[in-house]
Symmetry: C2
Subunit: 467 residues, 2 copies
């Protein structure tokens, strides 16, 4: 049977929760006194409907329903989960919680999205403290997996267990915050950076853009996959985490920032960090961690490169300087490259789809030689592949250098046929042969048509050469 | 003509610089008195040789040479670039710089990797301050694009210009730090988080692993693509950055951290931040930024998912709960999914290689129905695709729901042939038809052989049904 969640407060965060529940098949009941709530929630829901299903290689469950309610009692009756995301004022939260608990089932989890309050503060004066905890998500809630789950000593173990299970079932990664603390864990770190950023702007050291670039072209990429301590464990090398702190710890006493209070690096603290780091990553050697980090960075950078965004723009610009436009010819070397780590599958070799990518790239080089490159596409024409035949002769692995020789077999009017032979660079062994048939198209009508301008002339030239 | 760099100090950072230069075709001369220097540098170089070429869809230039020198004079004579990465002690740096400048060409850039010293400090007592600046990179230097370039007022404009050009030419993104400051920009932010992390551990709030998870499952993913301020610009919504600060600024006065000194949020400071943010991102509406952020997050999360790392493990676990193992049958619905944003190409539609990915996934479902899934592969057998014929009938776009119906055409001994018909879910229009021929293989010999156990039985069952 479908589960039901009550969403109390439907702003950016409440709307994000709603979207994650609904797209995972939950029915949702919403209360938000804002007259614009439905419009705003639909905005968030549209963004989530577009983005979240793209994460998976399979369909998400059938969408749940969304019901707008006119008061809290109606919203929370009979639900399995209540998510409170009202403004960050304790008196408001207390009033809302009282209203919720007058109608909600005791077995339901009553979770607050608060970043500012501790669960014990929320529980003050409540009639059933056991069901109350903080479940603090990160924007956009429908995409980012982190949720900080903070119980107080009064929160029941059973409710905590149910919360962990249900959050996991909608694709979130619950981080159990074992000790109540203002701002939980992540916002403490965010707040530290925010403060330091404000000082940098205040003192005219850097602009908002310069600070963002300093993050997203550098340590932001490291943090997307390893966080802070595992990254530093690698920097410390085989000597380990205690060595790293001994080496870099003293920098904390340098006059680097406006904010100077630092915990004393006693032997006990150094040992504590070292032990925790060993428990976290000690099963891997530094070289293994380095390889893992590098593979993750390659995959992240390639993802941004494919999007033409952030650090990917830098790699694209560099790559453009490495590629010459090929000359018109019946035979040409169309691809020479390394097989990246994100192209392999569970058989340990390059996935068959990636051969298609290589041959698509090879065809692009031929099209550039014909004058049908980016500018031609911008002017409304292109070539689309209509049929391929691919013979897989040998396996290919990540890290191998490969090249492709392409021969044009037919160039006549709108028709273009080529054969690509892909070889391993090391021994020139043939790995794969692809015959590819393309048609010239108008990008306006998305239908085939004869090429125009110098592309038409080049097709005639090639046709003559082919006899 | 190939350019030449001198690497003075070949640790993790110096070795990383060396690798980036060499793999971009520069010749490199190294000085490091450490007897282990060559072994350590080869370690870094091997990691870089494996990872860096994977970033590009084309080959990198032919590798430059590496020459080990026995003193600084020999190392720097006639070079175009000198990168100093010796230990962080000012007296050591001054001695090394004096030695370098006794032999180096004046037109060469003399760059220091220091994170701790300002360029004016390095220039104290130097005979040619004009060529000295800080070029502070981020580990791993051969993969991360950020380099902070910090001149002092004594650094010449010409040297700064050359440095910017040459750093860009080896794939780096120089961030010009306009005002000398201890720790430059990025390390100020890193130091703030490091301090806050130390407090969290010291106070037993969180372990190193919990802090890393709080980063890499949440804001680390945001920071890999947008940084801090553009992310908050979106959180502020259409009301803009000044509104965001007005709303969240007061939190800075809450007792959240051990470090409480905060710049006063005067109207001037709020306006400054708002103006800088407008200059940075004002050309995009919040909805546009949101879509861009979501596409980047989808691409980053999918990259980690493919690697089975960090946040990708959470998505994989969630996905495993969404998929049923199909039953053995001649015809089955083998794929139902959404086309993700990272599958489209410059023609605005799904790249031909990704059809291969879809059909590879479809075949995997058939193999699972045969009992030839993950466990079978682990036990040393699998199926490899040996030939495909693909007909591209209609275009497919990101965000569209698609499904594939697969029919087995031949199941006999080691031979397996199937036809996949891919349709758009909305109108069931046929987009693409693929015929795929697979052979059963031993993963030990990597050669074809008959299937074993229940897979062999299932092949017989299918064969009978096909008649």
């Amino acid at each position: 049977m479908a589960m039901t969640a009550a969403i109390i407060g439907g702003g950016v965060i409440g709307g994000g929760w709603l979207a994650r529940f609904v797209l995972n098949g939950w029915n949702v009941r919403v209360f938000d006194p804002d007259l614009e709530a439905e419009r705003k929630i639909n905005g968030v829901l549209d963004q989530a409907r577009h983005a979240l299903p793209m994460l998976y290689e399979t369909s998400l469950p059938v969408e749940g329903s969304v019901t707008y309610c006119s008061h809290i009692g109606e919203t929370v009756t009979g639900v399995d989960w209540i998510q409170e995301s009202v403004p960050e004022r304790l008196d408001v939260k207390h009033a809302v919680i009282a209203d919720i608990q007058a109608h909600a089932p005791e077995q339901a989890v009553l979770a607050s999205s608060t970043s500012g309050f501790k669960p014990s503060e929320l529980q003050q004066g409540s009639i059933f403290a056991q069901q109350i905890m903080v479940c603090h998500p990160f924007n956009p809630v429908y995409l980012l997996p982190l949720v900080e789950v903070v119980p107080s000593p009064k929160t029941s173990t059973q409710h905590l267990k149910v919360a962990t299970h249900l959050l996991t079932s909608i694709g979130l990664s619950p981080l159990h915050v074992r000790k109540e603390i203002d701002a939980h864990i992540a916002d403490r770190l965010l707040e530290a950076v925010w403060r330091e950023g404000l000082w940098l702007i205040n003192d005219d050291i850097a602009t908002t853009k310069e600070i963002d670039d300093a993050i997203r072209f550098g340590f932001g990429l490291r943090w997307a996959q390893m966080g802070l301590f595992e990254t530093y464990r690698i920097a410390g090398g085989e000597a380990g985490m205690a060595h790293f702190i001994a080496q870099f710890g003293p920098c904390l006493k340098w006059p680097w920032t406006k904010l100077m209070d630092v915990p004393e690096l006693t032997n006990d603290l150094v040992q504590k960090i070292s032990n925790q780091s060993n428990a976290q990553s000690g099963q891997h050697s530094i070289a293994e961690l380095e390889t893992k980090r590098n593979h993750n960075l390659v995959a992240l950078l390639r993802a941004l490169k494919q999007q033409g965004q952030a650090a990917g723009t830098i790699i694209n610009a560099h790559e453009a300087n490495l590629i010459d436009v090929p000359k018109l010819a019946v035979k040409l070397r169309s691809v020479h490259r390394t097989v990246p780590i994100d192209w392999t599958d569970y058989n340990g070799h390059m996935n068959e789809g990636r051969y298609g990518q290589v041959f698509s790239d090879a065809a692009d080089r031929v099209l550039q030689s014909l004058g049908a490159g980016a500018e031609y596409v911008e002017n409304g024409h292109s070539y689309f592949t209509v049929e391929t035949n691919v013979k897989f002769l040998q396996e290919t692995h990540a890290g191998e250098k490969i090249f492709v020789d392409t021969e044009i077999l037919l160039a006549a009017g709108k028709k273009l046929k080529m054969r690509h032979v892909m070889r391993r660079a090391r021994d020139e062994e043939v790995l794969n042969i692809c015959e590819q048939f393309l048609l010239h198209v108008s990008l306006e009508t998305r239908r085939s048509c004869d090429p125009v301008g110098s592309v038409a002339q080049n097709i005639v030239t090639l046709g003559k050469e082919l006899g």
